[in-house]
Amino acid sequence: MSGQITNILLVGVGGQGILLASEILSEAAMLAGFDVKKSEIHGMSQRGGSVVSHVRYGKEVFSPIVPEGEGDILFGFELMETCRSLPLIRPGGAVVANDLQISPPAVLMGQESYPEGLLERIKGSFPDFLLVDGQKLASDAGNVRASNTALLGAVSKRLAIAEELWMQALEKMVPTKALEVNKKAFLIGRGL
């Protein structure tokens, strides 16, 4: 971790539950006694565009965005978006990525192809790379829509925040109706 601050970038496509995951992460970090800042762009990005959410915690956090090239963990919800954000991560940083491809408009229209060899490109630069099938983990937990919390579970193992605080954060941020399945998905991800 760079100095006292832990820098996490959550990236993917609008509609994947990235904001909820970053809210749960921020809440858990606050419960653990850290100063926390979080930043992302709403608006245009919600119409299926790229989303990048920055979460930083530590003793005292200044900038709400992760300084370029200082990310400790890149938490990718989609492979191409994970690859796009690699320059934000420090050398030796970790990548936890969801094994999912979502085609952007030019690929849907047949004008470009979805890029190949992304896994190799990520692994080439960042040996500390964990590929997670978030959809499968969430299905195992009972609802494929909980893939964001399953992935968060996988990331959580790398962070110095106690399991019970993660549970408290989930209880606060996830609607009651979906809480049990999200807790289950989180723990399955955490067990990887």
């Binding site: 921020s26 762009i41 245009m44 565009g49 900038s63 300084p67 952007p104 047949g110």
Partner: protein
């Protein structure tokens, strides 16, 4: 109690704690969520106004009635609200009045990146600038106090990174010792005729001098001496970047950015070897400090354009950068209209008709992008209609027929009505299409005067848009189902041909409206792979639910597929397929 709040949530909380009674706004990124959070406090009467000018006037009325009032908008909203703002500084207030303006450096969701601090100086209104969520709450509270103490509206300037960033906030209690609002006449102060205004203007100038002097002792202006070789004057989110990148530099953090606390600035400059100003966009602080005769470095090293980041600040000061991984060359992922969006068919028709489309602000501005590529202009809210009139004044009779203004329901009610009034009054032959999807969609589904509900979710009168157009004098008003491509194209073509003003109104709701009985998914569609010839006609509407599947043999051949998770059953793609390969699965 501590909570993690966004800047917008914290501003709403600050207004609540300050005893605010009325909050009024027109939605605009990145300011929208402030009013979506004031509704959580039942003590605040929160409402959407049709535009920012009305929103500010409602707040002014509440203030003159003796209650504390909040008005919020995005930076370009102040252009619309500027008329009341510039005279409000002369009248001053009764109940405290706070105008929050959220700037958008880098234009994440805006058409320009104007710097609202210039408005504060131009309109002679004090402005505070918070640098995190805690300050958003505290500064909003303080702004209400200063507003009453100095008898002036007070602006609070946020920006995208502050409004949409989250950080920890210590919550406080709502003040309870404010006087009850009641009518009180004071025409010498509140009727701005020349005779009264001439009396008021010098008072405004005196207020600014007094506040500048008091500002030097205010806790929100913070002199932090560290290494004295570099002293940096900064404010807002830029302060955070300075502390991140140059933790040892001395800083003067300004919470009050208009008027500047000049004595404190002189004091700071005298204690450090060299003075820098770190600010996004315009050299607002820099020019004033230079005018004070202090040598500073600012825009020589920091861009006038875009937002600052820790990396950009490092570059500006020639500090080393973290080693960079080469950026990947990857297909872009721009935003797109949703699957089933009722706007899509209209722009498909306009492209086929080779219309010259004067566009407007909303989700439909995305029709600018391929494959629809059917928007020729976009300037500001409501501009489409007046611009269409203007175009028809100069081009040939043949070209006049091509001119079509396209505007959404909320934007039409915002500032489009006047344009249509002019179009009828001055007999423009252009065609106006009102994309009525019953919501303000782009900013995240806010209600408006034609949607039938208020911000507080109470039922409301829904303006009848065809009747409104009729009252303005439009003779040719047609309503079409935009999901019926043949009908949409035929009606638009007929009205384009007509040598007088005509209005075409679409009647399908936004697919994102969650209220029951508004939008319903139809039976989903699928591609019959045996019938699909791979002609790609269905790809021309750019629906995210339709995917091209290459044959995989290296040729250009392939077939279309519809993603059942994304399809809403709008039926538009079926109408494009000449081979009847697309059908509903039922």
């Amino acid at each position: 109690m501590k909570e993690i709040l966004s800047g917008n949530e914290a501003i709403a909380r600050g207004a609540y704690e300050a005893g605010c009674r009325v909050a009024c706004a027109y939605p605009g990124t990145p300011s929208t969520e402030i009013l979506e959070n004031t509704i959580n406090y039942k003590e605040i009467n929160s409402s959407w106004a049709p535009n920012e000018k009305v929103a500010l006037e409602v707040a002014i009325g509440a203030s003159f009635g003796g209650g504390r009032a909040l008005c919020t908008m995005k930076h370009v909203g102040v252009n619309v609200a500027a008329d009341p703002l510039f005279t409000l500084s002369y009248t001053g207030v009764r109940g405290g009045l706070v105008l929050v303006v959220a700037d958008d450096p880098e234009m994440h969701s805006s058409q320009n990146e104007q710097d609202s601090r210039n408005y504060a100086r131009f309109a002679k209104v004090p402005m505070l600038e918070p640098s995190d969520s805690q300050e958003c709450k505290e500064f909003t509270r303080l702004a209400f106090q200063l507003s009453e103490e100095y008898d002036t509206p007070v602006m609070v300037r946020s920006c995208t990174r502050i409004s949409h960033g989250k950080s920890i906030v210590e919550l406080g209690e709502r003040v309870s010792d404010l006087p009850e609002p009641r009518l009180e006449r004071n025409p010498a102060k509140l009727v701005m005729l020349p005779g009264n205004a001439r009396v008021r203007h010098p008072l405004v100038e005196q207020m600014l001098v007094k506040l500048s002097e008091a500002g030097s002792a205010m806790a929100i202006n913070r002199l932090e001496l560290r290494d004295k070789s570099i002293g940096i004057i900064t404010s807002g989110v830029c302060y955070q970047y300075v502390r991140e990148v140059m933790p040892n530099a001395s800083t003067l953090k300004l919470g009050l950015v208009n008027p500047l606390p000049q004595n404190l600035i002189r004091d700071f400059a005298a204690q450090v070897d060299s003075v820098y100003v770190v600010e996004e966009l315009d050299p607002f602080i820099e020019i004033q400090v230079k005018a004070m005769g202090i040598k500073v470095i600012g825009k020589e090293i920091i861009s006038l354009c875009g937002e600052l980041t820790p990396g950009r600040l490092r570059s500006a000061f020639g500090l080393s950068q973290a080693t960079e991984v080469q950026a990947e060359k990857l297909p872009g992922r721009p935003p797109n209209m949703c699957p089933g969006c009722p706007h899509r068919g209209v722009f498909y028709a306009l492209k086929q008709l080779k219309a010259y489309v004067t566009g407007d602000i909303g989700c439909y501005t995305l029709a600018f992008m391929p494959p629809l590529s059917a928007m020729d202009t976009c300037v500001c809210m409501g501009a489409s209609i007046g611009m269409a009139t203007g175009v028809t004044k100069v081009v040939s009779d043949q070209e006049k027929k091509k001119v079509v203004a396209v505007i959404g329901d909320s934007t039409f009610l915002h500032t489009g009505i006047n344009g249509l009034m002019d179009m009828v009054y001055n007999n423009s032959p252009a065609t106006v299409i009102i994309l009525d999807n019953s919501i303000t969609a782009m900013t995240g589904r806010q209600d408006n005067p034609a949607s039938g509900f208020t911000l507080m979710d109470d039922p409301a009168h829904a303006i009848n848009i065809p009747l409104l157009c009729q009252a303005l004098g439009v003779k040719n008003i047609r309503t079409v189902n935009p999901l019926d491509l043949e009908e949409t194209k035929r009606v638009i073509a007929e009205e384009m041909e007509r040598p007088e003003t005509s209005v075409v109104i679409t009647n399908k709701p936004c697919v994102l409206i969650k209220r029951e009985d508004v939008f319903q998914k139809g039976p989903l569609y699928a591609v019959d792979a045996d019938r699909c010839t791979g002609c790609r006609a269905c790809l021309n509407i750019g629906c995210p639910a339709i995917e091209w599947r290459p044959a995989g043999d290296g040729s250009r051949k392939g077939k279309a597929r519809i993603d059942p998770l994304l399809c809403t059953g709008c039926d538009v793609c079926r109408q494009l397929c000449k081979f009847e390969a697309i059908g509903s699965g039922k």
